[in-house]
Amino acid sequence: MALEVQGLTAGYGPVTVLRGVDFRAEPGQITCLMGRNGVGKSTFLMALMGLLPGASGTVSLDGTPLHGLPAHEVPKRGLAYVPQGRRLFGPLTVAENLAVGGLVRGNDSATQDHVLTLFPRLRERLTQISGTLSGGEQQMLAIARALCLRPRVLLLDEPTEGLQPSMIALIQDAIRSLKAEGVAVVLVEQRVDAVLKLADRVAFMVAGRIEDAMPVKGLAPDADVFRTYVGV
């Protein structure tokens, strides 16, 4: 088992958002997290990364506890997070962004080369200032930078939001490649078609809890669960 979460409760100051989340993500699987706006999907990913002080519950990766660690220690243990909105280091070049991404794990050329194989478009733009990339390229770079940490679990928060279809396809291909390499991918996604195309399992969040989880195989786009938990 890669990632196991039990009873995770967290929020922002006095506001509790997550109310005892139990969750599992397996190596070589893509687990999608769905739910209406404001149910705590992004908060859950932030809590996994140790970014929310005062969180309780347990988070472990291959049996090693991650909860209670300072936020900067979590990525070194094998978790990488690509937040919504990309958040690149705009004035740095593509190559410099990748270098910053891998520094704490000791940048090695094999990792960077592998990352650039996943996103060949970035290889053509290594010296370009990252702030001048297109939206899709920026998203690729955000994922590539996280992959420089050589994660065992990759957390992606709506990575294809607002992108054109050709870019979405490229990013989805890269996510499938990561799955094939044994990375556990946790993907927050709102679009049913993307979930059905990519995911092995889907978990539905309601009011800060995982209400239901199931294999995607056999689910139809108009299945009741999507109507119930996502409202589509």
Binding site: M49, H72, P75, Y81, P83, F89, L92
Partner: protein, 310 residues
Amino acid sequence: MKVWTLHLALLAVLFTAQFWLSPYHATNLARIMVLAVFAMGYNLAFGYTGLLSLGHALLLAAGMYAAGLPAQLCGWSAGPAFIAGIAGGGLAAAALGLLALRTAGVSFMIVTLMFAQAGFLTLLYFAPITGGDDGFAVAAASRTLFGFDLSTDSPRFLAALAIFATGLLASLALVRSPFGRTMVAMRENEERSRMLGYNTFTVKLAALTISGLYAGAAGAAYAILFGYVGASFATIQYSILPMLYVLMGGAGTTLGPFLGALLMFVLIEAATGVTTAHQFIVGAALVALILFAPKGLLGTVRDRWVRWLP
């Protein structure tokens, strides 16, 4: 390669300046180079790491007194006094950082300002030792290095140039190193940096300490080369000045602090010759700069024309 060539070319031009400038202007240029070292340090903290400090006068004064007091009280020569000054600035910055970096943004500005004011008042309180407002002159015997009298024009100019060159090239090497990129990452998005595994407190503390080493070097150089140590260097004016130099020259550019210090010095000199209200002219120039080149002169040049400018 062209980046290093540009910086070395500037140093070469500055070296020749002693031959074609009058002694008065050469002394002023030496003073500008020392102040530019101070601004370079400020630029590493503010321009590259995003730490907007209002307490750098404390670090300048720490370097100045750490060099000046041993020279004055114990008769230290210029070399050891200068090293003590650098260490003084670095230690003061590390101590300041350990406390002030628990805050951020406006709170960080206020806390650093508060410590700088406390430092200034401490210097006044211990006036019998520090000289208080009047300060003290550094003895001529302590202003020699390898037999060269640093109170005379040519050795003083060359010493200032050597310190400036070391500071500039070290700054260039630093900002182009992995740590330099980490500093920029911190400035751009601290939380994102943390998610990539960086201990943001440690990185900021290291950047502030390096900034303090520069401020300490500038303070010590000022004491040794110009022979004066005084509490006026610990006033808020000397926390504002490096910020103005950096903003004018271009925050986050390696040559910006020197350009800013040079232009500000020249502007004040020129304005003083025209009117007693010279600060009005300086203020108007700064307003114009904010309106037309908000990223500073070299920041604007980099954005519009010379993308490779570090």
